[in-house]
Symmetry: C2
Subunit: 242 residues, 2 copies
Amino acid sequence: MIYELFYWPGIQGRGEFVRLALEEAGAAYRDWALIPEARGGGASAVVKVLNSRSIKHPPFAPPILKAGRQFIAQTPNILLYLGTHLKLAPRDAAGRLWTHQLQLTISDLYLEIFSTHHPLGDAYAYEEQKSAAKRRTKDFLATRLPKFLGYFERVLERNGARGPWLVGTRLSYADLSMAQVIAGLRYAFPKAMGKALRSRPHLRSLHDHAFQRPRIALYAASGRRHAFNNEDLFRYYPELDP
Amino acid sequence: MIYELFYWPGIQGRGEFVRLALEEAGAAYRDWALIPEARGGGASAVVKVLNSRSIKHPPFAPPILKAGRQFIAQTPNILLYLGTHLKLAPRDAAGRLWTHQLQLTISDLYLEIFSTHHPLGDAYAYEEQKSAAKRRTKDFLATRLPKFLGYFERVLERNGARGPWLVGTRLSYADLSMAQVIAGLRYAFPKAMGKALRSRPHLRSLHDHAFQRPRIALYAASGRRHAFNNEDLFRYYPELDP
C-alpha cells in the first residue's frame, strides 16, 4: 500500500511526527506537501480533503493520512494506527496503550511549546502577543519544561530493558516524536535546552540514537525534511531564550 | 473488576470524561476524589500515585485509571481502553479509530476552552491574566468555537445511521464527552452558546439524549457529580461572555 500524507507545505509541524514514523519504517508514501500547487499539491491538497463531502469520517485538521480508502486524522491517532501497521509499537495491548500514553504526553508538551510563542492562539501574529508570550515562556522554562523533561528522563531510567528507547528494547513511534521535540526545543531555546539536557543523559542519548537510525539519517539528508523555521511549531525568538 | 479513579477532588475537570464513561456502563469503581483525606483519599491519593516508584508505566498527570494491576493515564487513552472493555466504542478497528479521532478533537476543544481563561497557563491566577484572557476569548468565540461546533454538527449530519450519536447507531464514549463539553460551554458562555446552539440541532439533541440516559441521569442526581465551578476546566466570567 502507498500511504498519502496531507499536511501544510513549508513547515515540519505536526506532520513531521507522522513523516518520521513513515520514514523509519521505509513505508511508501506520497507527501502532498512536496507536490507543487500546479499539480494539485501543497495547501490545495489539504483544503480539498477538508472540504470533501464524500469522506465518511471527515477530519477536523491536518495532518491526515490516507491508508487505502481510510482517512485518518489527529497525529497521535495516526501514530496509533501506524504503530500497529508498521511495527513501531509493541504487539501486546498493554504495551500499545503505554506507547500511546507517552505519545499523548509528548503531544501535550509540544502544544505547550506552541503556546510559548502564541499564548493567545494563532489568530494574532507573534508581534501582537509578544508580552503575553514572554510571560508564558518564563513559566514554561522555569516550571513546565523541567517537569516534562524530568518525567521522560524518569521513564527512560525506569525502562528496565537495554537500549535508548522509551518502551522495551525496540524503537517505537514515541521515540521518534520525543527525538523530534528535543530537536525542536534545541532550535527554539538553545540556551535553556543546553542547560536542561546536561542533567538528562537518557534524553540526549534517545535523540542521538533516533537521528542516527539509517533511514532517519538518510531522510534528514535528503532535502525532503524542512529546516526549522519561524512559521512553524518550534520557533526561535532570542527574547524568549534570554 | 473494580476500577479505581485517581483525580483531583472538588472539580469535574478531565476526570469527568472518565466518570461519565464508567457511569454509563454501570462499571464498579472507586472514586478516590470522593474519599476523605483522612482515609487516604482526595489529593493525597493522586500524589501518592504520581510519586510511586513501583509503577511500571508512570503517569504524568491525572486522571489515572487503575484497571487490575495496570495504571492508565491520559484521558483519551483511558477512554480508548474503556471503549473496548465497557463496549462504549465500535468493535471494528476502523470504527474504534474514528471514535478516538473524534475524542482527540473534543480534547483539542476543551484545551482551547481552558486557554480562554488561562492563556498564560495555570501558573498565573485568572486575575493576573485577565486582559490576555479577554483577547484570547474574543477570537475563540468569533472563530474557533463556530469552527469546532460546525465540525461536530457536520459529523452528526453525515452519520447515516439513525439516532443522536456521533458514530453509528450506538452511544460511544465520544458522545458522553461531547455532551459534557456542551454542558460546560453553556456554563462558561451562556450567551454565546445560546446563540451558537440555535443553528446546531444535532448537538443539542446529542447533549439532551446523553444526559437523559438512565444511568447518567441517576449519576447527575446522585450528588456525586460536582457542580460546575470557577476552579474547574469550564469557568464562568461574565466579562468573557459579553
